[in-house]
Symmetry: C2
Subunit: 225 residues, 2 copies
């Protein structure tokens, strides 16, 4: 819940390790593994972009703040996702651990060389970046034009797709306020809409828990517009 730029300090706290990743597209160049506790900050908007990252386990939220504290979470990064790569010298958003998280940090100043040398790596980076852009574009449509119900239907289906094994039941890694700040809503509206879904039999909801069961994916998809 503090610490400006854990990247540097953490990187030295944990022994560097070489990983042959589970990446289907090929091996990944070596990086440094890091562990983050719930709520820990990986980097803040404006920090020097010394590293970029790949999630191994857990979830990262990346977000921007307005001067008065309003927050927009532009993405949740789940295992396999690459994030934190910048065009300029500084990070353009902040990143925190949603729960306990394991990530691999890659030195950015090695990026040019890696891209030069390793065509497969280059491709992975380019594809990851383009995929982030696509997600951002989809999310702009959601933020600008969807209703609260549609936003939550889209969100639940996306989460099921990304984290559920059986595609029907999963535990949300983040709390209501994270969901609200991701969807451009308030926590009250998120909560009310979820209970409304539950009452309509679209989802199953344990009281005050993060477990979600999708009872009627069809109906949710039709809400998704």
């Amino acid at each position: 819940m503090q610490a400006q730029s854990l990247a540097a300090s953490q990187a030295s706290k944990f022994p560097a390790a070489v990983f042959g990743l589970r990446a289907p597209a090929g091996r990944m160049p070596a990086g440094t593994q890091m562990m983050l506790a719930k709520g820990e900050e990986l980097f803040a908007e404006g920090d020097e972009a010394e590293y970029f990252y790949q999630v191994v386990s857990g979830a990262i939220r990346s977000y921007k703040l307005l001067s008065d504290g309003r927050r927009q979470i532009d993405a949740f990064h789940l295992p396999g996702d690459i994030f934190g790569l910048e065009a300029g010298k500084e990070h353009r958003f902040s990143a925190e651990a949603v729960g306990d998280v394991q990530v691999i940090a890659f030195r950015r100043n090695r990026l040019a060389a890696l891209i030069e040398d390793d065509a497969a790596f280059r491709d992975r980076i380019m594809t990851a970046t383009l995929r982030s852009l696509q997600r951002a574009q989809d999310h702009m449509l959601l933020l600008g034009r969807k209703t609260a119900q549609e936003k939550l239907a889209t969100f639940l289906l996306d989460m099921a797709d990304r984290i559920s094994k059986d595609d029907e039941h999963f535990d949300l890694p983040m709390q209501r306020s994270d969901i609200a700040d991701h969807l451009g809503l308030t926590i009250e509206t998120v909560s009310r809409t979820l209970t409304q879904f539950a009452r309509s039999g679209l989802i199953q909801l344990m009281p005050a828990s993060r477990s979600i069961g999708l009872c009627n994916k069809m109906a949710l998809k039709s809400l998704d517009a």
Copy 2:
């Protein structure tokens, strides 16, 4: 206002030409120049992504639609901007000419080769993509968390920065409905908010025109949050 995929047809309509671009970062590989009339469609969501593009003059709007016609314009592309590059086989959004537009089309299947051969070009593409992502992240903050006034203040300052010579006066290339669909508002709210700005002396506004004069950039910036 029609035509599915003008890319192919147009490309043959206009003689291919080799351009040494005004690009500061270096020469650009050859592309095919195209002209588009106001409202013409460059490509639609779902079209095969055979080309990607750079704007020479005019403005392009790229957007997504919901099934009931609600539209979100995720970006306006102005001279110099590169857009339409995809990770997959298909375009993930549609693109139309806001007014009369000149663009250069690059064959996507030559991209891999170009990236392999030309480090400067690779850098331009990567930087352009990352810049799009940054713009998208800034825009998500706007869509999710800013008020109508803040949205329009941000938009006007951004446009002044991008198209104004003297930084004080410019003509908007797009109509109110485009602005509304970009900012997640209705045309009525856009119009009302602009009138309100004019009455407060923040901007100068010719009746029913697209000319904008910024009288008080300071005040606009403070609205920008």
